[in-house]
Subunit: 123 residues, 2 copies
């Protein structure tokens, strides 16, 4: 299976990538950072750190939280957050289509579905 | 900076990706697994394991080694190895071109060059 991972680097930090885009979708769906993190199987601390990185890597914050920023507080995407998420998803879709040419087909044809056993591995 | 990582999964293993493609290039350049690994700053064991995975994930091996497979032995790409490497590089190039549309330009425009300092970080 061919996977394409798009990562946007802001210095050493990843401003947007597959995991952060999924977190933004989950914030839209669940309305808070803690619930979004829970839905993705990550701790509140981890989810909060990803949001913090996103909010520091773009010209405007992508996520706004209700005052107090407690684990129970609500969160939603800003307009910039929606625009960045939409552009990232559109880029994923267009690159996914681009990966259906002769080179990709050749690779998927000659690659095995599962690796052969290592030489010397007991049957 | 926008980075695109193409990974080909063979079951749970990565049959080809940026690191493995670089290792194949280094084997072409240096003529052995140990020298190729050294050029990339990886141990002989690590380089050998990557080659072993590649050789088990495709219909035919990508790398052939001289008998004995010692750390000093020579290694070269098979015809399949050259074809897979070429197709992977071509795919990288074509997806790289695909990532120059309006969505990518928007993302690179609104992303900062460096993250802002965390709120509360001392100056």
């Amino acid at each position: 299976m061919l996977k394409i991972k798009i990562q946007l680097y802001c210095g050493e930090d990843i401003a947007m990538g597959p995991g952060k885009a999924d977190l933004l979708d989950a914030i839209v769906a669940h309305g808070s950072i803690s619930a979004a993190g829970r839905a993705l199987g990550m701790s509140y601390r981890r989810a909060w750190l990803l949001v913090d990185t996103m909010n520091r890597c773009w010209d405007k914050p992508l996520v706004e939280t209700s005052p107090g920023r407690s684990a129970q507080g609500g969160a939603r995407l800003t307009e910039r957050g929606r625009d960045v998420l939409n552009a990232y998803r559109a880029l994923q879709a267009s690159l996914g289509e681009g990966a259906q040419g002769a080179d990709a087909i050749f690779l998927e044809t000659v690659m095995l579905g599962q690796p052969r056993l290592a030489r010397g591995t007991p049957d």
